[in-house]
């Protein structure tokens, strides 16, 4: 609703469309103008309207309310960063070790991401020449971690599963194995698989 009459001073108004002679509601859709640039966001500082410029080079920023702030701002987008690696040791390797020893072609280097974690699952398919146990372990951060045993009745094979959580600190993860007697043969073909999946989350 517009003003009527002429020559008089502009009366105080708030553009409340429900109040007579108040200037009518502002039309925000392609009519009302301001000294703004493309993408600017409007917000109130409690007294006046303010404008927040759109990022000059948008890179996935999100509108955010940082702690103790009284106005919105653009911030780095939230959400997790997830990468993965797979270790696949050489099929058909053997060992007679009764102390932990490295599997061949069985290591990966974790990325360095502050506060991040690696979730690792290690499946090992083993054939053993004698009854007894086989053992599988992770080595990282300069020591053996999470070691487990699985019983095997010769001449059958069995798959053992181990898991671990490590910091994303650039450490090398090495898979290790051993038995209590006889010869272990590692299987990694067909449906007899040995592998380690690593999910890196930060």
């Amino acid at each position: 609703m517009g003003f009527s009459g002429g020559g008089s001073q502009l009366r105080a108004h708030t553009h409340d469309g429900t109040v007579a002679l108040d200037g009518g509601a502002l039309d925000f859709d392609n009519i009302t103008q301001s000294q703004s640039s493309a993408g600017m966001v409007f917000y109130s500082d409690g007294t006046h309207l303010q404008q927040l410029a759109y990022p000059g080079t948008p890179a996935g920023e999100t509108l955010t309310a940082t702690a103790l702030s009284t106005a919105p701002s653009w911030g780095t987008a939230g959400g997790a960063s997830i990468t993965s690696q797979k270790i696949s040791p050489t099929n058909g390797q053997t060992t007679t070790a009764t102390t932990p020893t490295n599997l061949t072609s069985a290591n990966a280097t974790l990325p360095t991401r502050t506060g991040g974690k690696a979730f690792m699952v290690y499946q090992q398919c083993i054939e053993k020449s004698t009854d007894g146990h086989m053992q599988q372990a992770f080595h990282y951060d300069a020591s053996i971690q999470e070691s487990i045993q699985t019983m095997i009745v010769s001449p059958h094979y069995i798959t053992g599963t181990n898991s671990a959580i490590a910091d994303l600190n650039g450490s090398v993860v090495q898979l290790m194995w051993m038995g209590d007697s006889g010869t272990l043969t590692l299987r990694n073909s067909g449906n007899q698989q040995t592998y380690c999946d690593i999910f890196e989350v930060s």
Partner: protein
């Protein structure tokens, strides 16, 4: 435990036998050195062990204990340093 490690590449194949049999054959070849490289039972005494990647070019890793160690939470076997640690040439000449 501390070990002395020997890594040897052998041009051989073991297609006609099981991989464990191939490993047993190499252990047998090294017996003149007085090395026990396989445990016959969990409480056996061993001087080391042998790990092999059985490709056409076999990658053989032999680790020999350089100090004694009694059974503990990590292993049931007794680890025993051999009277003499062999040289790489001695091992190679027996395996080839």
């Amino acid at each position: 435990m501390n070990t002395k490690t020997f890594e040897i590449s052998l041009n051989t194949d073991c297609l006609s036998s099981s991989l464990a049999t191939c490993s047993d054959a190499m252990i047998e070849k090294l017996k003149p050195l007085g090395l026990k490289l396989i445990a016959n039972n969990p409480k056996d005494t061993v001087n080391g062990f042998i790990s092999i990647v059985h490709d056409t070019q076999h990658l053989v890793r032999i680790e020999i204990y350089t100090e004694d160690e009694k059974p503990n939470t990590q292993h049931l076997s007794t680890l025993e340093k051999p009277i003499t640690i062999p040289s790489e040439n001695q091992i190679k000449s027996l395996l080839q």
